[in-house]
């Protein structure tokens, strides 16, 4: 039981002033070095220091301000976990344990992929957006959504949108969730395809995760029920063995079996996604989830330690010429808005609002813990994004563009790639490209887009500098590929299943039996629809001569930021409806920024006359050429010309859909907010009624000092009306 100490409430003692001044000073110096260095290479440590210093200050001051003044959390109020405790869905869970669960649920491949692509603009724009974005937008969204959902017994974002905004906003939110899910799965699967294509080592080790997961499933089901740690330790050992064995496979007669083309990989992934969606979770999904969570947390921890020990030097420029020209080969468009679209996860990720309004709010012990869990976990994810940016920025720019520019630009040989990179204004020799591929045990690195190979090369350099030297680079490269592909495939499993449930639930309104999860024809049909939908975009991405990532990643970013707009709109509406109008800017300003970014990006994608940027301009340019019977580069024949036209039209229509959804949700919410503002009486609260709490628990990581006071002092607050 924490000892109560209500004295010293102002919290301004000398030690604390000195400590926070020092943190501020370190952060400020680091920012100075990061922002002002030009033409000289700086150490990645400065990025780390700028990030950690900013996070600490934001957590201590801004998050605390939001929790105390804006949300007015009240630790005398029993949380849903305490009131509705059933030992299963609702259970007051230790904050450190819940932090682990929440972080594992929000962090995925997003913060690893986006920053790698955004490195095309230089390291500075990405660093600023990741740090400033998370402090004022991403972490705020996660925490405020968590708060409002917790006050409503863990209602989901979709339900809150319907309750607070109305059926139109609610329906738009539901469509947004489904659409983002499909695009998300397609883009993530595309990342895996690009990482594994023509790589027998990578394909073998990823393929082995399936039998390993099945074995763990049976182990936990029949041999040793509930021994999760034991099963995971065995699984991880087998996984590491599979990574090592991959190099033997590469040099053996099996190599051809595991050398797959991108198209073959698409077919395998679609079959796998369908099977994973209809099989019982104990066989594949649950054990994979244990494995990927362990690998995720373990590797991220290892990377953080290695970055600090290796202290690599950045080779990337602070700001490249592509930031203003908008003619970058990795993705088209200039810094504003496309850095803010490309880096979604790590700075502001709408998807998190689904987790923040899902399981987490039902497990919170004390209201004040939302700061550590909602805000804190997002800061950690942001730090993961910073590390990904570092990993991409230590690579020589010539190599970076040879890996990340689309195949249509680079050609397929090291000579053509070297020439294309020189045309872009960077330098790499064909020999250097071959040597780089050999060093990591790959046949080629040319046009291995999608971010995963780039990240894996950066990570292998950082890891090899600390553990094992250059001799282990190939191992670390494939370890990194395995780490990323493993949890992308877990997201694909889980996402397909979630999409299937959403579809079953929605179509169940039209045809009742569809809703039953035990009705097999319904399960198969809806699974096939979901797999078919993301499979379509995946196939489109693999075949697009313009480069799938180049075309699809902006759509993914727009979709994710669209969901963030929905979440921030719900939060802002709730702030206003609950009588916190003067604090509405806390989520209102990030919403305005997010809407500006998303709508500008959509506008450019829809209306830009530049065929590289605008989807419809692209479609008309290629269809005009097609009518004349001419073939435009990078297409090589008329069939590819047709592919470009179809893809551009589909992507353009999707952009229109996304932009319309944002406008509908915001307009509908503005109507509700205005009505609230004009209403003479306060609107009825949708909060669960106040119940006195009987448990006592600290707010933060430790149970001493500041937290002890917060727990005690909040006990004297009056419940808000």
């Amino acid at each position: 039981m924490p000892e109560l100490n209500v004295s010293n409430r102002s919290g301004l003692n000398l030690r604390s002033v000195l400590l926070w001044s020092a943190v501020g000073l370190v952060g400020a110096i680091a920012w100075g070095v990061v922002a002002l260095s030009r033409g000289e290479r700086i150490s990645a440590i400065w990025l780390v220091a700028a990030a950690l210093g900013s996070y600490a200050i934001a957590y201590r001051f801004y998050a605390r301000f939001i929790v105390k003044r804006v949300l007015r959390v009240n630790d005398r109020r029993a949380t849903p976990a305490e009131r509705l405790n059933n030992g299963i869905d609702f259970h007051p869970t230790d904050r450190r344990v819940l932090f682990g669960h929440h972080f594992a649920a929000i962090a995925g491949a997003g913060p690893l992929v986006g920053p790698v692509l955004a490195a095309q603009m230089g390291y500075l724009p990405g660093t600023i957006w990741i740090i400033v974005g998370v402090i004022f937008a991403g972490a705020v969204q996660d925490m405020v959504t968590l708060f409002f959902s917790m006050r409503r017994n863990g209602r989901s974002l979709g339900q809150m949108a319907r309750d607070e905004i109305g059926p139109v906003g609610g329906a738009a939110a539901l469509i947004a969730v489904f659409a983002i899910m499909i695009i998300l799965l397609a883009v993530l699967a595309l990342v895996v395809v690009n990482a594994l294509a023509q790589s027998p080592w990578g394909t073998f080790s990823i393929a082995m995760t399936i039998p390993i997961a099945l074995f763990m499933g049976v182990y936990l089901r029949t041999l040793r029920p509930g021994k999760v740690i034991e099963a995971t330790v065995i699984g991880v050992a087998l996984l590491l063995f599979a990574v090592i064995a991959g190099s033997w496979v590469e040099g053996s007669s099996w190599a051809d079996t595991f050398t797959l083309s991108p198209r073959a990989l698409v077919i395998w992934l679609v079959i796998y996604g369908f099977a994973a969606s209809v099989l019982p979770v104990w066989m594949l999904l649950a054990p994979r989830d244990y494995l990927s969570t362990f690998m995720k947390i373990g590797t991220i921890g290892l990377l953080a330690v290695s970055v600090l020990l290796a202290a690599p030097t950045l080779s990337n420029e602070a700001i490249t010429k592509f930031a203003s020209s908008g003619a970058g080969p990795v993705f088209a468009g200039s810094l504003f808005p496309f850095v803010f679209i490309t880096i979604a996860c790590g700075a502001l990720s709408g998807f998190h609002s689904l987790v923040s309004s899902g399981t987490t709010p039902k497990m919170i012990q004390k209201e004040s813990q939302i700061r550590m869990i909602g805000y804190g976990a997002m800061l950690v994810e942001s730090f993961v994004a910073i590390m990904a940016l570092i990993a991409a920025s230590i690579i020589e720019p010539g190599l970076y563009y040879a890996i990340n520019a689309p195949a249509g630009l680079l050609g397929s040989t090291v000579q053509s790639a070297s020439a294309a990179v020189n045309n872009l204004g960077f330098a790499i020799t064909p020999e250097a490209l071959t040597a780089a591929a050999n060093a990591v045990g790959e046949q080629t690195l040319v046009a291995r887009t999608g971010g995963a190979p780039t990240l894996a090369i950066g990570m292998s350099e950082i890891f090899a500098a600390v553990f094992g030297g250059a001799g282990l680079k190939a191992f670390w490269y494939h370890f990194a590929i395995m780490f990323e592909a493993l949890f992308i495939l877990t997201t694909v499993d889980a996402g397909t299943r979630v999409g299937r449930f959403m579809l079953q639930d929605t179509l169940g309104n039209l045809y009742k039996p569809l809703r039953q999860v035990s009705w097999k024809p319904g399960v198969y049909a809806t699974s096939a629809v979901v797999v078919g939908a993301w499979g379509y975009f995946l196939y489109q991405g693999v075949n697009d001569p313009l480069g799938g990532i180049n075309q699809l990643f902006p759509l993914f970013g727009i979709a994710n930021q669209l969901l963030a707009a929905v979440a921030l709109t719900v939060c802002t509406t709730l702030l206003i409806k609950s009588g916190r109008l003067k604090w509405a800017w806390v989520t209102g300003v990030p919403l305005a920024w997010d809407a500006a970014v998303t709508l500008t990006a959509s506008y450019q994608k829809i209306f830009s006359a530049d065929p590289k940027l605008g989807f419809f301009a692209q479609a008309s340019k290629f269809s005009a050429a097609l009518e004349q019977g001419t073939v435009l580069a990078p297409a090589k024949n008329l069939a590819q010309m047709n592919t470009v036209v179809t893809n551009s039209l589909v992507d353009g229509v999707l952009s229109v859909l996304f932009a319309s959804l944002i406008i509908i949700v915001i307009a509908d919410a503005a109507r509700v907010c205005y009505r609230t503002y004009r209403s003479p009486e306060p609107l009825p609260s949708t909060e669960a009624p106040f119940v006195e709490s009987r448990i006592l628990a600290p707010a933060g990581l430790t149970s001493g000092g500041d937290d002890r006071r917060e727990t005690a002092s909040s006990g004297t607050d009056r419940p808000p009306t």
């Binding site: 682990g100 649920a105 998300l184 936990l220 979770v281 989830d289 987790v355 877990t490």
Partner: protein
Amino acid sequence: MNIGTLVRTARWYLREVSGESLYDRYLEHHAAGHTGEPAMTRAEFERWRVDRGDTDPPARCC
């Protein structure tokens, strides 16, 4: 903090985070419910727990 406490803390954290300790929690909750029905065995409980995922999959973000 000595080694013993450290090991105990780590073990506690891993058991909680991995869900291994959920069965203990279930037993406590069951005993407190005074329903008189016999509690599920470990194997039954773990099956029931993981099968819930068939209808309620875990949220996994990007």
